[in-house]
Symmetry: C2
Subunit: 311 residues, 2 copies
Amino acid sequence: MIVCLCGGVGAARMLAGIQRVVDPTQITAVVNTADDEIFYGLHVAPDLDTITYTLGGAVHPDQGWGRQGETFAVLDELTELGEDTWFALGDKDIALHLIRNDALARGQTLTEATAQIARRFDIDVRLLPMTDDRVRTVLDVEVDGHITTMAMQTWFVRHRHQPRVHRVRFDGADVATPAPHVLESIERADRIVVCPSNPYVSIDPILSLPAIEQALRRRRDDVVAVSPLVGAAAVKGPAADMMMALDGEVSNRVVGARYTPWCSRLVIDIRDAHDAPAVEKLGMRCDVTETLMSSPRAAAELAAVVLETGG
Amino acid sequence: MIVCLCGGVGAARMLAGIQRVVDPTQITAVVNTADDEIFYGLHVAPDLDTITYTLGGAVHPDQGWGRQGETFAVLDELTELGEDTWFALGDKDIALHLIRNDALARGQTLTEATAQIARRFDIDVRLLPMTDDRVRTVLDVEVDGHITTMAMQTWFVRHRHQPRVHRVRFDGADVATPAPHVLESIERADRIVVCPSNPYVSIDPILSLPAIEQALRRRRDDVVAVSPLVGAAAVKGPAADMMMALDGEVSNRVVGARYTPWCSRLVIDIRDAHDAPAVEKLGMRCDVTETLMSSPRAAAELAAVVLETGG
């Protein structure tokens, strides 16, 4: 059994690769939900949705998130009615949010709603939200020289992750409980894979649940992480900018230093091979390989290296 | 000041006529909400929406309900995802439901949400739900020789109002309070107009709130109703079938008998002029005129007769 800790696009592609080399029913994805936001009363879960669309073969192939063939009739009408529609909810997206909303309104947990949605997309990987409780990524960011606080989607989408981040916190994490099956999956897994997701706002929130961090520390020998850096830059999104702002440099030494308390092995990109000695100094094994998942086949090859399945 | 008791399409057309002969800001519409249903956790209010779309100039002109230029991208995706989509939620419709959902999720009442939506459609008539509480039209209907209970939309839309109705009740009406401004509007109105709506499932639910019925009884002299019958048939919908099933005949005598405790005058269609003596026998004044609102102009002419504004 394989457990994967997941953010959005990078994790979705990694999972798609892993399910090419491992029986999908033997994979459990524990997904960040601290990005989730309520729009118009609907629970929008960007990371769960990106993974659902990717594994369901429905994702927009270039974007890596959202739906292929998406339309925006509802959003156009919201705009027409005077709404400030900075979050681009597509029509197909809204259909999924409505199904989730219906399940939650009927008293289902997010875990149950997620499983129900995954079945509709014929997904065999088990998708688990990290928690059924409300944990929220909140950022202290700099705007016009002043520090202000923003919710994740406000910063990421509305402000296009431009304001410099000074601090990230996870409201509610101290009192949140991991979702059912999360801890036991981590305990029983043959291997735990940390997907190439943003360490600060995708992986950290999962670790912000104390019980999950403790469980990972106990399994440190079997935890392997894939660095999100390729050529000392993020493939996508603000990970590199955040790293520079919060840790003063962009390198796998930073990734390793963050992960080493609960992770024994870091897989880094061939373009960053020079980082390997610094990572090893942190007490981690460091493997160097091609990590850019430019195709499902490339993702599967990366998965084989990560899982050491040979081939 | 004019107060109108309203169902859906017939009431919307009547209101559009009345606002051609009376300053719209002097009109208050008290709208049936016992038809309201929760779809995917969204509060759908068919009668409020039909009136909003009509007065907002956005209604589908042939249907008399729903939006002009409506599309169904979300519904198509819901169907694709395996949902039984018997209730045709359009994309523009969903945009409105999302705005309402957002308002309700933020703790606004239905009255507040309705006013906010009306402003976005530039509506000057004051739209009031009959109550902010949950009142639900439930029907005992006959299916394959058995009596079964159905919610209003299930019977009306899903079963196309085919099953014969044995009984109509309004769950929650005994403990519901009229929405703010409803009672005082009725008390202060110069005239109260009962729109040509279904007596059983549009007008009756409004009267099912005891405080509203009492207020109307006190204003009986100033209450005028427009019959929904044209040529002993309903212009639209199941009113005539229900009348036959529940009262044994389709005539304005039945409408009059239901309304006379709190209504002093009934306006009937010229095609049903022969009903006038029977209506007058009930102690009501009966006016005969063209009631078919085939155009906004025809609706305005009917409004002038109903309000006795001359012309």
